[in-house]
Symmetry: C3
Subunit: 138 residues, 3 copies
């Protein structure tokens, strides 16, 4: 059995946006008990991460770390016509994840206690992001 | 249903080599309508990325960023016997991707409009690289 | 057919711990001939990598590179209450992998000759880590 849907996530600038609840709400309605969930983001300037779901400071520190690791200025980028935050967004998405595969056991994602799913927005301005969810199994 | 093949990609030094067309040409011939495509590269000194497929400057900026992020000289690497570009290649492949999973919907990869698949070569000299493609579904 | 298990990995400080043998030993006992193996680690302060399985210096150089790339001191992290190695662990796990998907062909993982699977521990003290293995196919 294979089922899919698309999730729309409205972002408001750089940072991590939690999507665990939307994903698990959809998954609960699918009849797959054992299988795999694929989470796939259809963009190259934002990405996906699984990170701690307790202390919001973790997500702020993550955002700030990538700001330092992939600086907007002084790097001599060629691709600049879409703004100073565009090439850095491509690099930051490459350093994180476009697709994640999560085991489904007893009908739910087999996440650890402290794990949450996030869309990591790398652009400065608001965007509508599309995440494809697909579950496959029996 | 599960089908697989291997793709051979000839690289000519560091940089990103597009493989979207070869992958979608193979996928089109498989009878899977809904499922998942696994793209897996059988090496540890090159990797896979999904990135923008329009402006070739993006791939050049990506290549150059990884050259700065993981410098070949002055880092005191232990593993040097295969040349100065070998340990850096292992690190650069770890920072990007060895496997990607892409939803297949209506018989095609559910990529976003601007997304393309690339082999990211991290070694300086030409190589023959092997990518395993596997599609599973119904 | 879908089968899963959990692997417990005892880590003794920062570094890469090989798990290829445990994973392939379990896989050999499953009746799946063609399909996909999902390897998923249920933590946000350690991660998974596929890297060279020959020269142990590669894993030491990898560990040391991440120590330099994501420094413990002087970065002004907010999330510090779990020790100086905790926020850096979250970042290092984000830069590597929480889930890997590996094609299964003829009943075994389709790894390249030099590829091995590792748990990458980012915390300084010993931990018990849980890795979920799931194989799906026919």
């Amino acid at each position: 059995m294979v089922f899919h849907t698309t999730l729309r996530v409205a972002t408001r600038g750089k940072g991590l946006y939690p999507v665990t609840r939307q994903v698990s709400d959809w998954l609960r309605k699918q009849p797959v008990v054992s299988g795999a969930l694929i989470v796939f983001i259809q963009h190259t300037s934002c990405s996906l991460v699984i990170q701690e779901n307790v202390d919001p400071d973790v997500t702020l520190d993550l955002r700030d770390f990538f700001e330092r690791l992939v600086p907007e200025a002084g790097e001599g980028y060629r691709h600049t016509m879409e703004g100073p935050d565009d090439m850095t967004s491509h690099i930051r998405s490459t350093l994180t994840h476009t697709s994640l595969t999560i085991p489904v056991i007893d009908g739910v994602m087999a996440l650890g206690t402290w794990q949450g799913l996030y869309v990591f927005e790398h652009r400065a301005h608001p965007h509508q992001r599309i995440v494809v969810l697909q579950v496959m199994g029996e």
